[in-house]
């Protein structure tokens, strides 16, 4: 039995965490892998600004720093922003996967281009940054949003009738714009995956569940990230990082 730590990027309560854990049922995960969901101790209130992105990098790094010592065999980051992934890879030998880059690269095994479904206008800045950072802008047929403020704990919930048709319309615009594959731009959209897959003529990639399956592939193949690409710090500052997040949690 392998143990995988899933880091949830908001300090959610049990109900909010359960909504995140529901992604497991979409993924058909292996019974040989146990997934343990853990929220960060503190973090930003939203995710639309470099201020927020940076806080989340630190919060996720702190939440996962000790994963190897805690006996986990892999770490999955439950956000398509891949926040904290690079920093965690620099301090861990076990595989670390973010849902974002992995889902876009995977989409390119299914088609020549992908379109990204974003939540709302304020999410576009981060999406553009990610596409640039990952060198994938040329493969992106477009980014469309459905103009709905995200609910990071409740997700879509009982607003299905209102939200799902707007998501579908945005996906249709992406397909009309040349997208071979639709990538959901956030793990918080996972509840829409079934609805959209049934109605759209192209594959719809659900980043959270995909990331679990890719983790299982890595574990099965004995693969992890390259140390050449993610060099270790000369002086790790584990205690300092924990102290900072304890202070942040006390403040928030």
């Amino acid at each position: 039995m392998s143990r995988v730590l899933v880091l949830v990027p908001f300090a959610l309560d049990d109900e909010g965490l359960a909504n995140r854990e529901a992604q497991l049922s979409d993924a058909g995960v292996s019974s040989d892998v146990f997934y343990d969901f853990r929220p960060v101790k503190a973090g930003p209130a939203s995710f639309q600004s470099p201020h927020d992105w940076m806080l989340l990098d630190v919060a996720i790094l702190e939440a996962g720093l000790g994963a190897e010592g805690d006996g986990y065999d892999g770490v999955v980051i439950d956000t398509a922003s891949d926040s904290g992934v690079d920093a965690l890879r620099s301090v861990l030998d076990v595989p670390v996967i973010g849902a974002g880059r992995a889902s876009l690269l995977f989409a390119l095994t299914l088609g020549r281009s992908f379109g990204v479904l974003a939540q709302w206008g304020p999410a576009l800045a981060r999406m553009r940054k990610s596409l640039d950072d990952w060198g994938l802008a040329a493969a992106c047929a477009g980014v469309e949003h459905f103009d709905t403020e995200p609910d990071f704990a409740g997700l879509i919930g009982d607003k299905r009738d209102e939200i799902l048709p707007k998501m579908e319309a945005a996906c249709v615009r992406l397909v009309d714009g040349g997208a071979d594959v639709i990538c959901l731009g956030s793990t918080t959209m996972h509840e829409a995956h079934g609805y959209l897959s049934e109605r759209l003529p192209v594959p719809v990639v659900n980043p959270g569940p995909l990331s679990y399956k890719l983790m299982e592939v890595l574990l099965s193949a004995g693969l992890s990230h390259s140390r050449q690409a993610y060099p270790r710090p000369l002086v790790p500052k584990e205690e300092m990082i924990h102290a900072m997040l304890d202070a942040a949690a006390a403040e928030s």
């Binding site: 939203s46 940076m54 630190v58 920093a87 890879r89």
Partner: protein, 260 residues
């Protein structure tokens, strides 16, 4: 009418003694700094030990953000970051309306005003990841003719002190290779900590040598004079700024590190 000088905060990315901070401040003497700005140096309260890993980059972003995030309410007119890594710049821009100058981006853009390509001259190879990150963000990887280092771990606080005779000729040799073998039209110094080499290299090389720290001060002055600052579209403000939380984190970091 004589205008009062604009106040520019220069954030130095490591906790420092006053003497060490003064070595950083010597950069301002290497250019003809206009009287329209005055520079105020401030070090961060904590820091990673080096800038060689994603672990370090994250800590650098946070510590620089904390040191500069109140610059506007403190009455500063602009902020410069004393590191070519541009650490913390994006987050600071998201919280501040005054100009925040990124020395790395500024240097590479300036190099392309002076030549078709540039080469990055660095102290050690482990800094190359920082340059690659900025070049990727700018989409300018192809304009970089090469990166070379002298494979020497730098001293972020005491800089070249006592090592000039050993270090400077090797930097010169690497710069010559960038120009003659790699085709660099312009030499970019890969760190603001290399500023003490600028005069030596510029005297001996046939191409422009960019000194990123002083260049950033001059850019701040130009932006202030032109009434320019960063685009809010590119650097959206947070819905809920968390300055108290960030300060508490750095107070805890300084305590943990014994730098408080």
């Amino acid at each position: 009418m004589i205008r009062a000088a604009k106040r520019v905060l220069v954030v130095v990315p490591f906790p420092m003694t006053p003497e060490q901070l003064s070595k950083r401040a010597e950069q301002k003497d290497e250019v003809d700094l206009p009287a329209s700005i005055e520079l105020h140096y401030r070090s961060t309260r904590a820091a990673p030990s080096n800038y060689v890993s994603a672990h370090d980059y994250v800590l650098a972003d946070l510590t620089l953000l904390e040191a500069g995030m109140r610059a506007e309410e403190e009455g500063y007119d602009a902020v410069c970051i004393d590191t070519v890594s541009d650490s913390g710049v994006s987050a600071l821009r998201s919280m501040l309306s005054i100009p925040v100058v990124a020395p790395g981006k500024t240097m590479f853009m300036t190099a392309l005003m002076l030549g078709r390509s540039f080469g990055v001259l660095s102290m050690w190879e482990r800094w190359f990841g920082l340059y690659e990150r900025t070049l990727r963000e700018l989409g300018m990887e192809e304009r970089c003719a090469g990166m070379r280092s002298i494979d020497t771990q730098p001293d972020s606080r005491d800089l070249f002190e006592g090592k000039e005779e050993e270090v400077l000729p090797r930097l010169h040799q690497a710069a010559v290779q960038l120009i003659e073998e790699d085709g660099a039209d312009v030499i970019c110094l890969g760190s603001t900590t290399m500023h003490q080499a600028h005069g030596y290299l510029q005297e001996r090389l046939s191409v422009p040598v960019l000194n990123p720290g002083p260049l950033s001060y001059l850019t701040a002055d130009a932006m202030l004079a032109l009434g320019l600052t960063h685009s809010r579209t590119a650097y959206p403000a947070p819905l809920v700024p968390k300055p108290e939380m960030i300060s508490a984190m750095l107070a805890a970091a300084a305590e943990a590190e014994g730098t408080s």
